[in-house]
Symmetry: C2
Subunit: 255 residues, 2 copies
């Protein structure tokens, strides 16, 4: 009986990992993951057996990790950001259904996803309700993505976009902006963050109309404000209705 931990390591910088993720990685003799993410953490965890696979080999990577755990070694499968949000947790749980790894106990360890890490760099874009949408149509049909964008626009959600474009999908972000522009003001405050917590980190605040013509890459996370999002100094802020007077309402919890 061994453990397979599916671990969100955060956006990239070591210190954005949770204490729990760090403890799990120290404890496990085997660490599996996409080779780029393995390189982000390798120096901090010497003496590990690293199982790295190339991009697009998600299923093979998951099977390797499950096999290692089934063989009796506690194994950590790392994901960038969170382990659930577009991460490997779902695939691991789907594979378990096959029944081939009866001695593996799976634990999902959450992490700071790009929406949160990028939001913190831009200011506070997510202080009110928000939607997270991936523009990658690798695993989701394009019509479904468009339906999501319309639903988010109708609901006046702040929208956080993952995988806004890549070499083969240069105009996806433009199309997404065009859909949102049917509902939202061209001056809507938007933000871009690239390489969060990694070398070359940069960010920018711009309008929805400017965003439409901006080229991005798959290491960029995009934030599109709702109708109330403002630029305050150098920050992108979505107010939550705090009236800057003492609160008189009922109890409420935070995020």
């Amino acid at each position: 009986m061994a453990e397979l931990y599916v671990v969100g390591i955060g956006p990239g910088a070591y210190e954005k990992m949770t204490v729990e993720a760090e403890q799990v990685l120290r404890r496990c003799p085997v660490i599996a993951g996409y080779q780029v993410y393995i390189e982000l953490i390798r120096e901090y965890f010497p003496q590990k057996n690293f199982l790295a696979t190339a991009m697009r080999q998600e299923e093979e990577r998951c099977r390797m990790a499950l096999d290692a755990a089934q063989a009796g070694e506690d194994t950590a499968m790392i994901c960038s950001g969170d382990s659930g949000v577009y991460g490997m947790a779902g695939l691991i749980l789907q594979l378990l259904e096959e029944g081939n790894w009866p001695d593996v106990k799976v634990q999902i360890i959450p992490g700071v996803t790009a929406a949160l890490a990028g939001g913190a760099l831009l200011g506070a874009p997510l202080t009110n309700d928000f939607a997270v949408i991936s523009l990658s149509d690798l695993l989701t049909p394009a019509e479904e993505i468009q339906k999501r964008l319309r639903g988010a626009a109708i609901g006046d959600f702040v929208v956080c976009i993952y995988n806004p474009s890549s070499r083969k999908r240069k105009d996806y972000l433009k199309k997404a902006c065009e859909i949102l522009l049917e509902y939202r003001n061209p001056d809507t405050v938007c933000g871009l963050v690239s390489q969060i917590g990694r070398q070359g980190q940069r960010m920018e605040i711009l309008t929805l109309n400017q965003l439409k013509d901006r080229e991005t890459d798959m290491f960029t996370t995009v934030f599109i404000g709702n109708s109330r999002t403002r630029k305050i100094g150098k920050y992108m802020v979505t107010p939550r209705g705090y009236r800057l007077t003492k609160m008189s309402g009922e109890e409420e919890r935070q995020g």
Copy 2:
């Protein structure tokens, strides 16, 4: 010149805090926050000057923290979950506009929000696009919340609900479920998680129809699956279209 860090401490358990949050709290002589959150961390950080305020005193709390930093002491303002998602980061940046704290440098430190921590306990509900909605109408008009619910339903988003109800708002979750039931199957897979990472943590997977009549509290986070969300064993999983065959598409980044 002193720093004011707005720090997301995660859902409650110490180890769900990021390494960065822990480092910041160790470094700052002053820690401000809602008294319940201060109690969650007090034992780990002895010798600090704690500035605790009661519920509903968000603005007073933020002003105290800004004043402490303006007086020259590095200060950490703690938020449960993430510092941005329904957290204090937005209010701090709005207050800065008043110009009363010219020597304060603000830094926002992200944390694991309840959507991620709760999702990890339930399995992998957020592997596809999702929307986060608070049902508290303390700071958002009820009509706006309903518009959000409809937008999320139209977009077939997985929906994560914060503040589903409280003593004075007993039927809010029921109303939200009724709106979603106009668009979604009554058998839609849903999940409840309470007291994430704290004593009394519990979870449940149930249908949307069952969820409608369930009483919750403000320490519960609710997950409503999309049209493809399934129950796999004891887990709630939203597949992402992984066909369990080798991928042949283009590159893509994770969460």
